[in-house]
């Protein structure tokens, strides 16, 4: 009884570094109300809810339980998914499974985080093996720095190449009123910002953010009645590649390579660089914008820096990446993957306003966890065959 699935509405908060004016469920409620309004639906129309965040960030467990006043989950089927950084993308994949199964027609998907409420690096470290990983690991930035270092050694890239990606994303954020950081920076400013972990400068990485996002998915039986031009889900993929951090192939994101190949195969995409129209990637630091697009197969190994320098991923380029300003401009972690999904959906639906890429047929969104695991979604204008 598998059904095709479409996104029919999205909503998100105006993300900020600190939202002391609302608690978790109130923050969630803002995003939910906007998604319902976008789809022109009422809470009574929603058949089930998928919600998630990284609960060790706030130190409050079971958001599926305590947020029901804000989420609309009172006396409805509600389930929590939490997978670290990928959470926002995983809740979307979970919603896709629920609707695709034919058991629910309209599912509300919620991702949220209040990163201001705890020490992010300390909390991330607790996600790693206490005996083998924690002695030297220093949160996501340390792992990302090791990846960038390996990539530079392997392909001869430089920190200027990374900085160019940060300049791009921060420029794109100027078009997105929901982004937390909206300030253009120059290449020189990125390179002159404090070195956090070689080769990563402060302006190469994401901030900490409070924010929520909600997405409504509907089955093919009702989707086009709710929304004449919905965003169809063409496929999803999730991959993990290691048990301990030292098992990974540093300089390559194996999970991205394997997952994206699954998506291209499902959709019959032969040249993703030419066939995709826009990418919203969970790219929490600049070098990921080089390495990971090679793993997606957009360009060959070591070719990303030149491709980026030539402007191909800027708003007017061959394949705009992160029109929203991406994760470098805004990172409410449990919401971040779902924001990518919502932004990709808005691009397909033609609702992306000042950051709209013209004539989007295929869009790609992803979630990134940890270090080194990846979830992803392929979105399309046309109903999948």
């Amino acid at each position: 009884m598998a059904k095709r699935v479409a996104i029919v509405g999205t909503g998100q908060t105006f993300h900020k570094s600190h939202r002391p004016d609302v608690n978790g469920q109130e923050l969630i409620n803002e995003a939910v109300l906007r998604a319902l309004q976008d789809a022109d639906l009422k809470m009574k129309d929603i058949d089930a809810i998928v919600i998630g965040n990284m609960d060790h960030f706030e130190g409050i467990n079971y958001v599926d339980c305590w947020s029901v006043d804000g989420s609309g989950g009172t006396m409805k089927p509600i389930i929590k998914l939490t997978t670290g950084g990928t959470t926002g993308c995983t809740v979307a994949i979970g919603g896709y499974h629920l609707v695709g199964s034919g058991m629910f027609d309209r599912v509300l998907i919620i991702g949220w985080e209040k990163n201001s409420e705890s020490d992010t690096t300390g909390a991330i470290t607790t996600a790693f093996d206490p005996i083998w990983d924690r002695l030297v690991f220093a949160g996501a930035i340390s792992g990302l720095a090791a990846e960038a270092q390996a990539y530079m050694a392997r392909y001869g890239a430089s920190d200027r190449d990374g900085a160019r990606v940060s300049v791009r994303d921060r420029k794109h954020a100027m078009n997105n009123p929901h982004a937390q950081l909206r300030k253009e920076v120059s290449l020189e400013e990125v390179l002159a910002s404090p070195m956090l972990a070689d080769p990563i400068h402060l302006l190469d990485v994401c901030p900490r953010t409070d924010g929520a996002c909600a997405v409504i998915m509907a089955s093919e039986d009702v989707a086009e009645k709710i929304c004449p031009k919905p965003d169809w889900i063409w496929g999803t993929a999730a991959r993990h590649s290691y048990s301990y951090l030292g098992d990974a192939d540093y300089g390559r994101l194996t999970s991205m390579r394997e997952g994206s190949q699954e998506l291209w195969k499902k959709a019959g995409i032969k040249e993703p660089r030419k066939e995709l129209d826009v990418v919203e990637m969970y790219q929490p630091y600049s070098f990921g914008g080089l390495i990971w697009i090679e793993d997606m197969g957009l360009v060959g190994p070591g070719e990303a820096p030149q491709y980026i320098w030539d402007g191909n991923t800027d708003m007017s380029g061959e394949l705009p990446i992160n029109p929203s300003g991406g994760v470098i401009s805004c990172n409410p972690i449990g919401a971040t993957g779902l924001i990518r999904c919502a932004e990709a959906a808005m691009q397909v639906m033609g609702k992306a306003e000042g950051r709209q890429v013209p004539d989007v047929n295929f869009a790609f969104s992803s979630g990134f966890g940890g270090c080194w695991w990846t979830d992803m979604i392929l979105h399309g204008k046309n109903k999948p065959k």
Binding site: I131, L135, V136, G246
Partner: protein, 154 residues
């Protein structure tokens, strides 16, 4: 402006202990370091990959591994970073002393990388591919801290 006061909730001197098992492979690994300053990995019977830390199953092949192989103690830097930003170490509750070298060491004979400190006295020597060797703690207790750090020997 009204001065804001936060309610602080803390555990004081109370401990909230976790008791993790390292498993039989990890136990043997640490006993070998403590007693003989030797590093042991395990080898997959199907793909031949040598794993550090040792473990019971090769995830790629999903088969049990039983063959122990000595690796190192010398190796190369597989990748690394130098941590320069201050953060609270959840292991200790105190600020981690920075800067420090975070190394992913590829022991001679191993396929995966072993994470530990790298001595960064001379930062110009720290590069991917540099040869390193471990410096052991004088008093070894069978833990990851039985190695103080790795140093570049090029």
């Amino acid at each position: 402006m009204v001065e804001k006061e936060h309610i602080i909730i803390e555990s004081g001197d109370a401990v909230q202990p976790f008791a993790y098992s390292v498993g039989m492979h990890g136990s043997r690994f640490f006993a070998e370091i403590r007693d003989n300053k030797r590093f042991l990995g395990v080898k997959c019977p199907r793909c031949g990959k040598v794993y550090i830390p040792p473990r019971g199953v090769c995830g790629d092949c999903f088969v049990e591994m039983k063959e122990w192989v000595e690796v190192g103690p010398k190796g190369v830097i597989g990748t690394f970073t130098i941590l320069r930003y201050a953060f609270i170490d959840p292991e200790t509750g105190a600020q981690k002393p920075v800067p420090y070298g975070y190394g992913f060491i590829r022991f001679d004979g191993a396929d995966t990388l072993f994470q530990h400190y790298i001595n960064i006295e001379d930062e110009t020597k720290i590069r991917v591919g540099a040869r390193v060797e471990p410096v052991f703690a004088r008093e070894r207790k069978g833990s990851i801290r039985d190695i103080e750090y790795f140093k570049v020997i090029d």
